[in-house]
């Protein structure tokens, strides 16, 4: 993991001191709420329905056991004993008092953490996939470049008041697990013919009101040029991005307006002016940063003989291994996903302080003290010896974190919705829980196979509903909560935006509609077809006809 040196620590201390002073000036009235707003947002503080929400950055979804314990401490000391992991691999605390925020930030800084740029019209937390550095199908470790970008974008003076928020993701595996194509800038890191490290740059992806997938504007960009190239993109955006309408202010609208070719030509022209300048990443810097991510001291292990036996004897353990255990680069090891989607006992992504402490302990006992957050809001132990899978499973099960549902229908991505968020048009949590309750039969879920269901409480799409195989969007109709369904969304290399199936439903109708969707799938499924494959083959019409019988249309 990246560790702070004196420079990083000093910068963070100065940031907290500045924010402490800003809060004091706000409380005294020297700063108006309007003036304070972007300052607190750029420090992760949102005003929500009941209190302030603090969003703490977890750079590219990686944190240590020590840092997880600090998050647990914040949850118990300053919040109501839990936190919510987000689709940007961050964590949110929902019940924060403004007066406490500077102290919380001091506590975070002691653990080399912060809330800088987790909100506001700035470059947000750089994300990557949860298995970075350990995935069996990885081409290169994306974390060094993610950290270099994090530093470059942190308090970047020119880009601190962009037209709108700006999200960057980087992935370097055969399968894209970072939703790269739905980012303002998406990066695929790969090897060229001579083994050189290259980047494919996509621009203009994003969900929200106008869901779009990013378009490739640059192929084969040598890694050294990552920061100058992103700088060129941001400069073009900062100059020409719309500022008259916040719903038209994301870079995707600019790319759409100019056309991909004109936009990329503009970026290229700008880049030629700064290419090879001092911001170009040096080999020494790459090596310095990469050294923090070098492989831990793995043992020379074989796949343990008893694993198959344990799976035979305990079908529940076998199911967990099938869904929650992932292949690792190193023989005898695996990565484990701890599900934060137990169903009716906890909202998706919510983790209690006790669970955080337990996860921190497991990461040390069964790994190298490192934890990951996935954009699906689950927690990952990246380096578990396969021989330890069984004891880990027992502990995780006792703590309510071993639901064997990763990638299945109940592994719902959901935003906090109207229960917390003042932007929401509708609640997310009760609907997610009602669906989870309806589909509690784990055998049935396993039979359905890979199926993603994403839920957002408003058009801002924090729950990535457009990318769910089944997407649910909360909408407001005359002060009532309604839910609009989409089908056919997909993340990954074959990313797709879901299509609306028809009129919206009331909350209590939603589980039944999901059942109908599943029924159509099962009716038409051939052999081992996934939901997406069946949908692609038969189209959306059979679903519509079953959900909206013709006489009612």
């Amino acid at each position: 993991m990246y560790r702070y040196d004196q420079y990083d620590i000093t910068l963070l201390e100065q940031r907290v001191a500045q924010f402490r002073d800003q809060v004091a000036r706000r409380l005294l009235g020297a700063l108006s709420e309007e003036e304070f707003l972007p300052l607190r947002l750029q420090n992760g503080l949102y005003m929500q329905r009941h209190a302030y929400m603090l969003r703490v950055a977890i750079p590219y979804g990686t944190l240590s056991s020590a840092q997880m314990r600090v998050l647990a401490e914040i949850a118990s000391r300053w919040d109501k004993g839990y936190g919510h992991f987000t689709t940007r691999q961050n964590i949110q605390f929902n019940w924060i008092h403004l007066e406490d925020a500077p102290d919380i930030m001091d506590r975070l800084a002691e653990a080399e953490m912060h809330a800088i740029q987790t909100s506001g019209n700035v470059v947000r937390n750089i994300t990557t996939e949860q298995f970075a550095g350990v995935a069996a199908d990885e081409v290169m470790d994306p974390r060094p470049l993610a950290e270099i970008l994090r530093q470059w974008s942190t308090m970047n003076p020119e880009f601190s008041f962009l037209p709108r928020k700006f999200k960057i993701a980087i992935s370097s595996s055969k399968v894209d697990r970072a939703a790269v194509r739905s980012h303002d800038v998406g990066l695929y890191l790969y090897r060229g013919e001579k083994g050189e490290a290259l980047l494919k740059v996509l621009v203009g992806g994003g969900l929200g009101r106008t869901p779009l997938l990013g378009s490739v504007i640059r192929e084969a960009l040598p890694w050294q040029h990552l920061t100058t190239y992103v700088e060129a993109v941001l400069r073009v955006y900062n100059r020409y991005g719309r500022r008259d309408n916040k719903y038209k202010a994301r870079i995707k609208i600019l790319v759409q307006a100019l056309g991909v070719e004109a936009f990329s030509a503009e970026v290229e022209r700008e880049w030629q002016q700064i290419k090879d300048g001092p911001a170009t990443i040096s080999k020494a810097e790459y090596r310095r940063v990469a050294a923090f991510f070098s492989a831990p001291a793995y043992e020379d292990l074989k796949v343990p003989a008893q694993l198959a036996k344990q799976q035979d004897e305990e079908p529940e353990f076998a199911r967990w291994c099938k869904r929650n255990v992932h292949p690792h680069q190193v023989s005898g090891y695996a990565s484990v996903t701890l599900s934060t989607k137990p169903g009716s006992s906890m909202p998706p992504g919510d983790v209690t302080a006790e669970q955080m402490l337990a996860v921190a302990d497991w990461a040390e006992r069964f790994g190298f003290g490192e934890i990951r957050v996935s954009h699906e809001q689950n927690l990952i132990l990246p380096d578990v010896r396969q021989i330890d899978l069984y004891p880990l499973w027992q502990l995780a099960r006792a703590a309510g974190m071993a639901t064997p549902n990763i990638g299945l229908l109940t592994d719902i991505i959901a935003c906090p919705g109207g229960d917390y968020c003042s932007l929401a048009n509708a609640r997310s949590i009760p609907v997610a829980m009602a669906i989870q309750q309806r589909f509690a039969d784990i055998d049935f879920l396993h039979d359905l196979g890979d199926l993603s269901l994403n839920l957002s409480g408003c058009v801002n799409a924090c729950g990535h509903h457009h990318l769910g195989n089944i997407g649910i969007l909360g909408v407001d109709k005359n002060g009532e909560e309604w839910y609009q369904l989409t089908l056919g969304g997909q993340q990954g290399m074959e990313a797709a935006i879901g299509k609306v199936i028809g009129r919206a439903f009331r909350a209590d109708e939603v589980p039944e509609v999901i059942e109908k969707i599943i029924a159509v799938y099962l009716n038409h499924r051939q052999q081992d077809e996934s939901f997406t494959q069946t949908l692609l083959r038969i189209g959306i019409q059979p679903f519509k006809e079953y959900i909206y019988p013709p006489e009612l249309v």
Partner: protein
């Protein structure tokens, strides 16, 4: 006399401002001898008419959406260019300043005007501004503190183009293997 913050001195300071900002074309200008900052359009019109004199006492202010690059050579000769922030949340002025300083090599005084507040001065200074006309209802002496809150910067900018990583590298052994790839 109005006050400004000047940051191109060893220590940032508050000082009297002898420039008169002509914000709108309808404003009556004071006597000819005054040092004036004209709107870009008026400056262009006056130049075209040949009525502009005492060039060393004339500056221009650029609005966030003004096209200035076509006449950049003329602007570069001015002693002062001001960039207007219609709202402190409108960040276009940072890029204008960056381009004037690095792309076009403007050497004169670069001034931030409009919605200029303490908590943005650090970023503005980094992008090449050296004087700041802090919004009138704010305490300009308090705003001065906005320039001294940070000693560390990760990335290069106009004030210091060398990114932190190159300074860190000076503390480490050299690495010059031209064939090395990540």
């Amino acid at each position: 006399m109005p006050l400004i913050i000047r940051a191109n001195t060893p220590v940032p300071q508050v000082e009297d401002d002898h420039w008169q900002l002509i914000k709108h074309d309808t404003e009556t200008m004071q006597d000819d001898a005054a040092w004036r900052i004209l709107p870009l359009a008026i400056w262009q019109a006056q130049r075209a008419e040949g009525v502009l004199h005492a060039n060393s006492h004339t500056g221009v202010w650029i609005g966030a959406s003004d096209e200035y690059e076509e006449i950049i050579d003329d602007l570069l000769a001015l002693p002062l260019i001001a960039i207007d922030f219609p709202s402190f949340r409108d960040g276009r002025g940072y890029t204008v300043a960056f381009l004037l300083r690095t792309r076009y090599g403007y050497q004169g005084e670069l001034r931030a005007i409009g919605d200029v507040l303490r908590d943005q001065l650090f970023y503005m200074h980094r992008c090449g501004f050296d004087t700041f006309a802090v919004r009138e209802d704010k305490d300009i002496h308090d705003a001065l503190k906005g320039l001294t809150e940070y000693t560390i910067r990760y990335q290069g900018a106009v004030d210091d183009p060398v990114p932190l990583f190159r300074k860190r590298a000076m503390e480490m052994a050299d690495f010059n293997d031209e064939h090395w790839e990540p």
